[in-house]
């Protein structure tokens, strides 16, 4: 079978000049998506260029090829359909190196560390429900300070209340770890507005928590567990019209935040009936030591204890993970454990990495499964 001809084939293997390069670049969007082949392009003078991506399974740095006598560099990577990949370019000159975003690609994803360029593979569609919908009624976000905490210092909580909330009605509760990041990088406010407006999820009260030292507090730190279950929960149920029943209380988090959610539910079985765990850092060992670095020591310690004696931390759990994450195997392996102990599990994978837009994109399915709205019945 003849290999498919790619756009870059017009340049590679031929004697080309800058006019050919200009012609190649004209009216093209980058990276070039041609089925499963993605061509990344960079222009400039360098000693070497590399694709620095965040895909588990590929070499961490993929070299670009230089088209002789031009300033054009390229690399072709096979990317499965529906993939979403965050990346940077590593430009090496004169013994130094610089990580930059792809100047030819306007598509960016932001996170607490800055922003990455985004490659959307063939068939990937940006969800329609992540942008503010002018038709959707807006909920309210309000900051509160809880002064007396288990940490010996005040903690800020951002509370989302749905549009048209009524004190005479009862609402489910969602407690979100890394709340600021969910709001800033996963569009959580707009997502909630849209899903509630479309009756895809129940109107709910959401407590976005803001950690101190999350790497220390999230992996089963007794102070954090007590803060959420014994301070924040009563504080919320005293002030807001909540159901106050386990099946209408949900803990949510991504990465270490998922570990925190699980550890709280594990230490308070029967209190939180729902969990939404995204790309959980569920590292564990069967024998010997782990190799993920010291930050994971308390995680592995907790996960090993949990796996040895899981109990029944919650009733329903939505688990999601990107197939390009190093954590994919840990997440896959925790699903049968949840099922064995009697939890109802919904598990979803996506061709994405350990990032906020992956977690944003799974919120619709997770929330609508845990707190389904009256979509089929409501026609306003």
């Amino acid at each position: 079978m003849t290999p498919r001809r790619l756009a870059i084939d017009a340049l590679r293997g031929h004697a080309v000049n800058m006019g050919d390069v200009h012609h190649f670049m004209h009216k093209r969007q980058f990276p070039i998506i041609e089925g499963r082949n993605v061509t990344f392009v960079w222009r400039g003078h360098a000693d070497a260029v590399q694709l620095r991506h965040f895909i588990y399974g590929l070499p961490a740095e993929i070299p670009f090829h230089h088209v002789a006598h031009t300033d054009l560099w390229y690399c072709v990577v096979e990317v499965p359909e529906m993939s979403r990949i965050e990346y940077k370019l590593n430009i090496m000159r004169g013994g130094g190196r610089e990580w930059i975003r792809d100047p030819l690609n306007p598509n960016l994803a932001h996170d607490p560390f800055g922003a990455n360029s985004v490659c959307q593979g063939a068939g990937y569609e940006t969800p329609t429900w992540i942008e503010p919908d002018p038709e959707a009624r807006r909920g309210t976000l309000e900051d509160h300070i809880i002064y007396e905490t288990q940490f010996g210092e005040p903690r800020r909580i951002t509370i989302y209340t749905p549009a048209r909330m009524r004190p005479t009605r009862r609402y489910p509760l969602l407690i979100v770890h890394d709340g600021g990041d969910y709001l800033n990088f996963a569009s959580a406010g707009a997502v909630l507005d849209n899903l509630i407006h479309g009756d895809e999820v129940l109107p709910m009260v959401v407590a976005f928590t803001h950690p101190g030292d999350r790497l220390r507090e999230y992996p089963d730190d007794p102070r954090h567990v007590a803060f959420i279950a014994e301070t924040l929960l009563p504080w919320l149920e005293e002030r807001y019209p909540l159901y106050g029943t386990p099946e209408r209380r949900c803990l949510m988090g991504a990465s270490f935040g998922a570990v925190a959610s699980l550890s709280i539910a594990w230490r308070h079985p029967g209190v939180f009936g729902c969990l939404l765990l995204q790309s959980g850092s569920f590292a564990f060992t069967e024998i010997g030591n782990h190799s993920r670095g010291p930050a994971f020591d308390p995680v592995v310690d907790f996960m090993n204890r949990f796996r040895a004696d899981p109990g029944l931390p919650s009733q329903r759990v939505f688990v999601s993970c990107g197939t390009y994450e190093t954590l994919i195997f840990e997440n896959r392996s925790i699903v049968p454990l949840f099922e064995q102990i009697g939890m109802t599990v919904r598990y979803r994978e996506a061709r994405d990495g350990h990032n906020w837009e992956n977690w944003r994109n799974r919120m619709r399915e997770g929330l609508s499964w845990l707190y389904p709205g009256h979509l089929w019945m409501t026609y306003e």
């Binding site: 048209r164 009524r166 399915e365 609508s368 499964w369 389904p372 009256h374 409501t378 026609y379 306003e380």
Partner: protein, 338 residues
């Protein structure tokens, strides 16, 4: 002036509704699309020449039933809210036996709906398979027709089962004879004595339909002009079809809920169709059109409306689109009738 229906539909332009569905009321029923972003009911009511008070039914809004200031302002005429939701809550409060019987009936309805949904999965899948299959027409068309007939059999069966539940509830429980319910029904009838036009808002269609049925509104509405939108419009028709092609959970198979009040028969109305349905998917549109025959599927855009009177459905505005058997969407110009 009325225009004939554009060609391309399964029905024949100007065909009257089947005699078995002939209208039994003397009023006009106006079925409107969503009103929130493009309110038109005020203008419709003025066009009808209404001067007197308007009866409001906002039970689909549930606890928000009485938050009707915006609606009243839009109508611009004196209005009285019939408070169907609140009245039934009072019945529940005053008569625990009613609450218990109703809860039990609703539990049975929910179970039936769940079973209906499960049966639909395979039937819908078979229909889509046949519609996508290619073969010579004389080979494939009978298979398609039979697959759709199997689907409509399931629909009819479900509607009959739900109707039987309602009849059993009526026979065993005799709601009309219970003082708590009879008093509410009498009060509503009294309020409506001075009302010629009733406006019925959308919202939760099952809740709305329940309240309309339990408080026996059908005979009271049948002698009046009704302007109903979204879920309110769905409740006025003969069959209420729940629909969403891309829900976050499940297959997105449209499912029959229940019979409506049947004041505007021969149509199945689909408010918010452009938001909830893949209208560019001819297979889906065509299947829905054929599934509800002899009724006509009508997508009602925001603010659009049709008029049901004298056994005919007439497009009252732009924005009304009929589903054709071949999957086309046919825009009905104002004045076009079915």
């Amino acid at each position: 002036m009325r225009c004939p229906l554009p060609p391309g539909l399964g029905g024949i332009p100007g065909i009257p509704v089947p005699t078995s569905h002939a209208l039994t009321h003397t009023g006009t029923i106006v079925l409107c699309g969503p009103q929130r972003l493009r309110p038109t009911v005020g203008a419709i009511v003025r066009d009808l020449g209404v001067k007197g008070p308007i009866g409001l039914i906002t039970a689909g809004w549930q606890e928000r039933e009485t938050e009707d200031e915006e609606l009243r302002g839009h109508l611009g005429l004196p209005a009285v809210n019939l408070r169907l939701y609140g009245r039934w809550e009072e019945v529940f409060h005053n008569d625990p036996e009613v609450f218990e019987m109703h809860r039990r009936r609703q539990d049975h309805v929910r179970q039936l709906q769940h079973l209906h949904r499960r049966r639909l999965r395979r039937a819908m899948s078979a229909c889509r398979d046949m519609l996508q299959s290619e073969a010579e027409p004389w080979l494939i068309e009978p298979e398609r027709a039979d697959a759709i007939a199997a689907l409509t059999t399931i629909d009819d069966h479900h509607l009959a089962r739900v109707k039987a539940l309602h009849l059993r509830f009526e026979a065993e429980f005799k709601p009309a004879e219970r003082p708590s319910i009879a008093a509410q029904r009498a009060e509503i009838a009294e309020v409506l004595q001075d009302v010629d036009v009733v406006a019925i808002a959308g919202g939760h269609v099952a809740v709305l339909l329940n309240r309309l049925r339990l408080l026996a509104l059908r005979p009271l509405l049948a002698t009046r002009t009704v302007v109903a939108w979204s879920a309110g419009a769905m409740a006025m028709t003969d069959r209420v079809l729940l629909f969403h092609d891309s829900p976050p959970q499940g297959a997105g198979d449209a499912e029959m809920l229940d019979h409506g009040l049947g004041l505007a028969p021969a149509v199945v109305v689909l408010p918010h169709a452009h938001r909830r349905l893949r209208l560019d998917d001819r297979g889906r549109v065509g299947l829905m059109a054929r599934r509800v025959r002899p009724a006509q599927c009508l997508a009602l855009a925001d603010g659009s409306y049709v008029i049901a009177e004298q056994g005919r459905i007439t497009a009252g505005s732009e924005g009304v689109r009929a589903f054709a058997d071949d999957g086309a969407l046919v825009a009905l110009p104002a004045g076009a009738f079915q």
